[in-house]
């Protein structure tokens, strides 16, 4: 059930992508996202798509997992691409009443679809290959400059770590409680919207109770270990930039240059 959601799940491994520094991965992800949205013709879109596919293959995670993460948003992809087909300007190729399909509409649809798919694939790659602790650690480091603005970077990162840590736990708990209530004959599938929401009370109340209990226990456990916030805290695993990371940054810069050059030398399609 809830376990089938592939989005945002860490899969341990030893691939090149797994071994990269989490901070570098985050920065390169941002670079990729910018590039995905700054590809205005088929050549540059092709380059960035190729780069995304290369990253996926390097991550050594089965393609099935990536397809699963796409499954979640397939409806969004379909709706946006269909809407975009009818949104183009220029001479219609086919026309039904007020709806017309134009060449620019088809181009738009292709661009939107490819962009969303690339976006999901490359972000899934980050969460598949980076453990939640590394991820928040990296985010904490990257946000450090914000401390000047008196933003509590460490606290935000700690909250994110805890939230991420408890997502699978709470999902598992939901599964268990749902199964227990189903075993008592609870009917959660039939009936209208209101009835379904009402039927969730026997699941939600125990879930809240247990979430509060866990939060309380965690707070006590943290205090017992003298946790007092981020000041003066050192790390067991210090993030380090390695040769591998430098190489990955260089490759990304090459892709970046390629996309920019193609954008300049080939005509924009949208």
């Amino acid at each position: 059930m809830t376990r089938d959601i592939a989005l945002g799940q860490f899969i341990p491994g030893q691939s090149v992508i797994h071994r990269m520094d989490a901070r570098v991965k985050n920065l390169l992800l941002i670079a990729f996202i910018v590039l995905i949205f700054c590809s205005f013709n088929f050549v540059s879109l092709g380059i960035i798509t190729g780069a995304v596919i290369a990253v996926i293959l390097l991550s050594d995670i089965s393609v099935k997992m990536y397809l699963k993460s796409l499954k979640v948003i397939i409806v969004i992809i379909l709706i946006t691409s269909i809407l975009n087909i009818f949104y183009g300007s220029g001479d219609p190729i086919v026309q039904f009443g007020i709806f017309k399909i134009t060449l620019s509409g088809i181009y738009r649809a292709i661009f939107v679809t490819v962009r969303i798919i690339c976006l999901i694939l490359i972000s899934s790659c980050l969460t598949f290959t980076t453990s939640p602790t590394d991820l928040t650690d990296a985010i904490e480091r990257l946000m450090k400059p914000l401390k000047i603005l008196h933003i509590k970077v460490h606290e935000i990162a700690m909250m994110m770590t805890i939230a991420l840590r408890f997502v699978p736990t709470l999902l598992e708990e939901t599964d268990k409680i749902m199964a227990a209530q189903k075993a008592r004959g609870a009917d959660m599938e039939s009936g209208g919207m209101i009835k379904k929401i009402k039927a969730m009370t026997p699941v939600l109340i125990p879930l809240f109770v247990s979430a509060f209990r866990r939060a309380y226990e965690l707070a006590v456990a943290m205090e017992c270990r003298c946790y007092q916030g981020g000041d003066g805290r050192t790390r067991m695993k210090v993030l380090k930039i390695k040769k591998l990371d430098v190489a990955c940054i260089l490759v990304t810069v090459l892709v970046l240059a390629g996309v920019i050059l193609c954008n300049i030398f080939f005509a924009a399609k949208i």
């Binding site: 376990r3 592939a6 899969i11 995670i61 089965s62 099935k64 997992m65 699963k68 708990e173 268990k176 409680i177 199964a179 227990a180 209530q181 189903k182 075993a183 008592r184 004959g185 609870a186 009917d187 009370t201 026997p202 109340i205 125990p206 109770v209 247990s210």
Partner: protein, 287 residues
């Protein structure tokens, strides 16, 4: 007559993901009406997964569960009704309590079953009596009960549906020795009166040897042994190779036997051992 028949039952979690895991592997058995089946196995051997297939909470990857001769998945739309026939008490069932009062919580199952108000009242009070919850406790919030009381309230919630088959997944886990003793006695008392079929999953070999007519031993998803407690616990080496142990008293009595004392084989409970030793001493003229 066999009430439950399990045929080549298998279940795999997360098919098609890197986390694929065969939890139950080709299990077959027949269970007679009124029998108490003890289920033991190492953590992760697939006990919980197996019992959840008995009442249709999870659908087998392959194989069948026949309840009174009918495949429970034959009419998959009516799978919910199986829950009323095969009652399931999960591990740590106290986490499922949700209603304002204990009484209302216990009546959740019977109400879903579609009983009338009078029938609900009757069955709730009866179930509460089986597990020894007083009327005073019935009007309290379930969140104000002690750990042991919560556990018993949750079990009453399943007993109140009056199932023909009752599955208990580690019902005594995490209770203090006294609480375990009381709960076990209550379950045995309930079985004596209602005479229904019981599946009892436990890590306590002592509990199993006291309550079970037959014992299933699971290892890595497979059903390794199925026999009476006496025959199962006679095979100490095999049991221990699966990371389990035999009841301590059985082991003590076996050692005495090996040292040449005249003791019958397969002593399972302390009471039995007591009378054996008294007999022995009398025979030797020591008392």
């Amino acid at each position: 007559m066999s009430i439950i028949e399990v045929k080549n039952l298998s279940f795999t979690y997360g098919i098609g993901t890197p986390f694929e895991k065969k939890a139950v592997d080709d299990v077959s058995l027949c269970v007679n009406e009124g029998e108490v089946i003890g289920l033991i196995g190492h953590t992760g051997s697939g006990k919980s997964t197996f019992v959840q297939m008995l009442n249709g909470l999870i659908k087998p990857t392959s194989g069948q569960v026949l309840l009174e001769g009918k495949d429970i998945w034959e009419k998959s739309k009516e799978i919910r009704k199986i829950c009323f026939k095969v009652g399931m008490v999960f591990q740590y069932p106290e986490y499922q309590l949700f209603d304002e009062t204990v009484y209302k919580d216990i009546s959740f199952g019977p109400r879903n079953k579609g009983l009338s108000e009078e029938e609900i009242d009757l069955t709730v009070r009866k179930a509460a009596k089986f597990v020894g919850l007083s009327d005073r406790l019935l009007n309290k919030s379930p969140f104000d009960l002690s750990g042991g009381e919560k556990r018993r309230a949750a079990i009453a919630g399943v007993i109140a549906m009056d199932p023909d088959v009752l599955v208990l997944d580690e019902p005594t886990a995490g209770l203090d020795p006294k609480g375990r003793e009381v709960l076990l006695a209550q379950i045995m008392g309930y079985h004596k009166e209602r005479k229904n079929t019981i599946f009892f999953v436990s890590h306590s070999m002592e509990d199993i040897s006291r309550i079970a007519d037959r014992v299933m031993v699971m290892n890595k998803g497979r059903l390794e042994m199925l026999d009476t407690p006496k025959n199962i616990f006679a095979q100490v080496e095999k049991i221990e190779s699966m990371g389990l142990r035999v009841p301590q008293i059985t082991k003590i009595m076996m050692t005495l036997r090996e040292r040449g004392y005249d003791i019958t084989d397969g002593v399972l409970t302390v009471e039995q051992a007591f009378s054996e030793i008294i007999n022995l001493l009398e025979k030797e003229g020591k008392i």
